[in-house]
Symmetry: C2
Subunit: 245 residues, 2 copies
Amino acid sequence: MNAQTFAVILVEPQLGENIGMCARAMWNCGVDDLRLVNPRDGWPSEPARAAASGADAVIDNARVFESTKDAVADLNFIVATTARPRDMTKPVFTPEAAAKDMRRRTDGGQRTGVLFGKEAWGLHNDDVALADAILTVPLNPAFTSLNLAQAVLLMSYEWFKLADATPGHEMRIPADTRPADKVELTNLFEHLETELADAGFFTAAEKRPTMVRKLRNMLSRAEMTEQEVRMFRGIIKALTLRNRT
Amino acid sequence: MNAQTFAVILVEPQLGENIGMCARAMWNCGVDDLRLVNPRDGWPSEPARAAASGADAVIDNARVFESTKDAVADLNFIVATTARPRDMTKPVFTPEAAAKDMRRRTDGGQRTGVLFGKEAWGLHNDDVALADAILTVPLNPAFTSLNLAQAVLLMSYEWFKLADATPGHEMRIPADTRPADKVELTNLFEHLETELADAGFFTAAEKRPTMVRKLRNMLSRAEMTEQEVRMFRGIIKALTLRNRT
């Protein structure tokens, strides 16, 4: 996959703090090409750097342009973020689909970018007309007011996810132990069942096999580590010793 | 799909403003069950309401608890958000996989929740131990500091997406027009080609078929509306009239 990321183009952003929060969200997702069109409070901006919370790589490399046209000059494909339908015939993407489309283009050597307006949705129609497509984040229809950094985060996160190999779900095991093997588990089960028999837990002999299956099923589901099996056997010993005193 | 959402449990949140931004992110995604464990600055909170930017439905229904144990009492399955590996054997989910797992449980009648610590990652080990699984957002390994509302947004957005039917990519067409039909397009092509022939554009007769195919291919790709076809024919007329004066 091409290491080049898409460009985040903030058109006339108002507060430096918002720019910083966008930079932070971008860098969380490894996106590093920030372009500012006429930032209201100027650039560089100390509030932006503070709000970036350490995403200096993005702040230091941010570039300022006088117009959207200049900011996108070297790009091949741009998407304009807007929640409102504009009176234009244009392809509309979700963040996930836009990320896939832009990754494919980037891998093919194109340069891509996403335009964000003043308040996430505040792009001029002229800027929207300039774009190849529209990006609209599907949201609760009763409440679609997404802040600027949140819009940048969702787009950047969808981009990041496409190159991320983290399994959706895995068991994390501390380095000082390992999953128990089946002989350790069987020894635990037999230890427990022997003590339960001694304690008179199995009141009816014919129900014992069912009860044993239920116990073994429940304890197997816990996916114990070797350490946990030893702890559990220690618990059985402690409880049975107390009974014997 | 069950209308019940998962619960967002903020453990010892510090600034009311952060709570408000979490409420806003939740409501953007239709998630409405906010629970606060010992909010430092008390509750209700005016800074929280202001930062929620209109997500009053979430702010008004937020509930305050004295302990994490109380806040999760009615839930069947909880996930603890943490970036650092804790010394515990536990399943680890990405937001997407956690959303899928929790949706499945919710559809089956279970109640689920996600714990977030002070600074998104600031949960006590005792709270993590209480959880059924861990939620870790995969991020740029060089910069994993995600703010609280951003973590809440990513989890809520993954949840929302599972019930959202928005197509990834579609052509949006204004209500006052429709896609051109093929006869309108063919008439446009023939109009253009006739005028080009008259103007001497096809210098070599044997190259004309190739040139015509290229033109038709390019113009077809634009997926014009009926309005745009008319506009384009107006352009041809305007340019050819000028040539004739």
